[in-house]
């Protein structure tokens, strides 16, 4: 309650929370694009999402050790993870594409544990970050302070989102991906190599996660065991936005970031996640209720 009064007394802090939250949400949205894609096209809920993000972060970190500016890590991590994603598909994922959801959740969960331990062995368990040294934007007498990297992250999210939509609409493989998502069987009949489509989709998802990880290591911190929150957040964003709705993913991502930040401020950080998940439940119940109504009309 006191915290609410504080926001009423000094509204400038709500501006801080809002901007900061929206921009954090942009980073989550980038990973969520990938999850929406894999889920929509392959019907796989990819639990490995978070580990791909962290792996992308490590790629950027090691690049910065070589003296390269970490911002270059965004494309490099994306490329590296594209290759990793392709490899993971060829090793495991292709075996589970047509199986039920439970099998794919188990398999990707297994891969995520394996990746965590491998990263722990290779990179160590230390907390890492790569500083882009872009400074901070200060407004209103320092009361609002936003790290500039977060604006860069927003720009990247929007640009990548737009490119992704273009790619899916215009390119041959993009069209093949959409066709496969609509009906894999029909697509196969039309001569589309769906296996290739799945591999591309999965690798593309990993690439998006890689880019996200690169932004995460520049904005916050990473270590091998912190991937799960990015999986959970991607999942939530996709659930709220619905499949096949990239614009919705951006909106849901930004919204989630902002809501999370306000909840953390008002209720204390310990209730931040609890609040967001309660909200998810409410959204799902409400959506189910509306769907139920629609069904009644149809009858």
């Amino acid at each position: 309650m006191d915290n609410l009064l504080l926001l009423v007394d000094a509204p400038v802090f709500s501006l801080q929370l809002l901007i900061d939250g929206l921009l954090a949400g942009a980073i989550f949205a980038l990973a969520a694009y990938g999850m929406a894609l894999v889920w929509g096209v392959m019907n796989i809920i990819n639990i490995t999402q978070g580990e791909f993000v962290i792996l992308g972060g490590f790629v950027t970190l090691y690049l910065s050790y070589l003296g390269v500016h970490p911002l270059w890590g965004v494309p490099v991590s994306a490329l590296a993870l594209f290759i990793v994603g392709w490899g993971v598909y060829r090793l495991v994922i292709f075996r589970i594409v047509d199986r039920d959801l439970f099998i794919s959740i188990l398999a990707t969960f297994g891969i995520s544990i394996l990746l965590q331990q491998l990263m722990n062995q290779i990179f160590g368990a230390d907390i890492q970050n790569a500083d882009p040294n872009l400074g901070t934007l200060f407004l209103f007498n320092d009361d609002v302070a936003i790290a500039n990297i977060k604006f860069v992250a927003l720009a990247i999210t929007i640009v990548v989102g737009a490119l992704l939509i273009l790619f899916l609409r215009k390119s041959r493989i993009g069209q093949a991906i959409r066709a496969t998502a609509q009906s894999a069987r029909a697509a196969r009949l039309m001569g589309i190599d769906t296996d290739r489509v799945y591999a591309t989709t999965y690798a593309l998802n990993a690439a998006l996660c890689g880019a996200t990880g690169s932004l995460v290591v520049m904005t916050w911190v990473i270590h091998p065991f912190i991937g799960l929150i990015y999986t959970v957040r991607s999942f939530m964003i996709v659930v709220v936005a619905g499949l096949g709705n990239l614009a919705g993913v951006v909106v849901a991502g930004l919204g989630l970031g902002a809501v999370e930040n306000f909840a953390g401020f008002l209720l204390g950080t310990e209730f931040q996640a609890a609040f967001v998940f309660s909200l998810l439940v409410i959204i799902l119940v409400w959506r189910n209720y509306r769907l139920g109504k629609k069904r009644q009309y149809l009858r």
């Binding site: 000094a10 801080q16 901070t136 200060f138 950080t269 310990e270």
Partner: protein, 410 residues
Amino acid sequence: MYKLAKTTIISLGTALLTFGLVGNAPAKVEGDTIVLGAAVSLTGKYTTAGNHTQRGYDLAVQRVNSMGGVKVGGKSYRLKVIYYDDESTPARGAQLAERLIKQDGVKFMLGPYSSGLTKAMAPVTEKHKVPMVEGNGASRSLFNKGYRYLFAVLSTSEQYLQEAINLAAEQAIKMGKSPSSVKVAVAVENDPFSLDIRAGVLDDAKRHGMKVVVDDKLPRELSDMSSTLTKVKALKPDVLVVSGHSKGASLAVRQTTQMRVKTPIMAMTHCESAKVTSAEKFGMRAEGILCASQWAPTMTYRDNWFGSSGDYAKTFESAYGYVPPYQAAESTASVLVWVDALQRAGSFDTEKVRDALSATNMQTFYGNIKFDETGKNIAKPMVLRQIQGGKYKVVAPTKWASDPLVYPRP
């Protein structure tokens, strides 16, 4: 009969080898060697700290052996430690304690790294009445269970940042204000260790009549502290206390500078493991932060094995190539406590050794050690080190201060 025993031993040995354990089947004392047992984290999330722990033990063992070993009942014995990797998981730690005691016949245990692992192993050592001396489990909850065989050389966790509150009170008095005018912000991770720290800080804040304006518990999967820090910025407390292992420390250093959160006193744990003084990782952002430490190389304690604290730091650095963090120092001290107790007991009877441990009253390079009836060390205070010019300088308590406190922090 003899043949049967031989076959059994051979098949047992083969079995052990098959499972990847090179079984050398030692007992508590083999010939002239005293065997200590330890499970430490060599893989998993505590790998870094686990390595410090093992190196601390190893250094002590080397030094004691090279200086003539442990004298028990007029005979000299060498020390040896059997290690297992607990993979940073408590369940594994408990299993390994069982194995060390039952299969390897270890009667003298050294602690693992972290309160969580110690908490998992203590019931096992207690059940088998095997004494354990540990230097890396600080949680209060280890010392309210009535354990008879657990001894800890380090200060318990609620003391970690209490001194920061007392410093704030001192500064308030110096500026002609009452300590009760001081506002405190607390942001700790939601885990037993950090909650202990919070309890200690809140106790002391209450004692001084201070107002706690922010009291946030950070989630374990913490990735962003900005909402808490926005609150700190809005409420302008005089003291900010952060505890969230190295993750919390790195985030706090990063985000307080990013957001220009300025509190005259900012105190944290795990500065060393987060490497906040590393210029390439953090620049000079950690300047003026107070870090809780169990021990510092500048302190003036000494003992016969290593000499002064500074000498210990030098020995460690020449062996391992880096300045020893307190996790290593307290591990070394645990071994020294065993040596002292075994020599005073003059016997390998675990009950006699336990009583000797319980009567410990000694100075080591790491600090004074004297256990109360719960087994925790009550003779050594925590110190606060302030980061000044990128270096750790002890500023509190006054007795051990090497430099004056820079207040407010730059």
